[in-house]
Symmetry: C2
Subunit: 114 residues, 2 copies
Amino acid sequence: MPTNSDRFAKTPEPPYYAVIFSAQRTEGEHGYGQMAARMTELAVKQPGFLGIESTRDAEGFGITVSYWSSEDAIAAWKQHLDHKPAQEAGKKVWYVDYQLRVAKVERAYGKVKS
Amino acid sequence: MPTNSDRFAKTPEPPYYAVIFSAQRTEGEHGYGQMAARMTELAVKQPGFLGIESTRDAEGFGITVSYWSSEDAIAAWKQHLDHKPAQEAGKKVWYVDYQLRVAKVERAYGKVKS
């Protein structure tokens, strides 16, 4: 039985913020995997970063939810200079369509084995 | 190039609510696909339902985000009698781990071709 508990973000008690990013990938790799890994590595180091959950199916439709302590932390990450080229390439090369939503998490429950 | 624009929820201008459900599936089918399809069909008909986005990778890690007009609409769907058996089977049979977060969407942007 798969456990995969590291796929879940270990977030604190709410309130905190979520960035819900849904995207349909274009066909072909175009350096996506490498850049995505680098962006996650960088995001994790940002002030206010709380965690990330991400998955994508065989059709290339993916959802990534990153969790942050505040809206300011989200704004700072959006403006981060090393993040900008990835955002541009996302719009131009990697994503057919995408949608980004910023939301305030008010309640959370579940069961995640540690 | 895949378009798959129907995979995106066509939500109105914020504010509205999101239920972010992350889950690791157990191995084996155990009637999951049929129940999941039936629950989506039923959710779509509920008052206040705005849309749903869902994806799962080959490891069985999935994220489903459903969008709702209000917290009351979310509470009513949680309590819906036909939804309860699926919630129970989720905990006991289908999910190794899961996490559910209720969040208020404050901002949204993106590019989705219709």
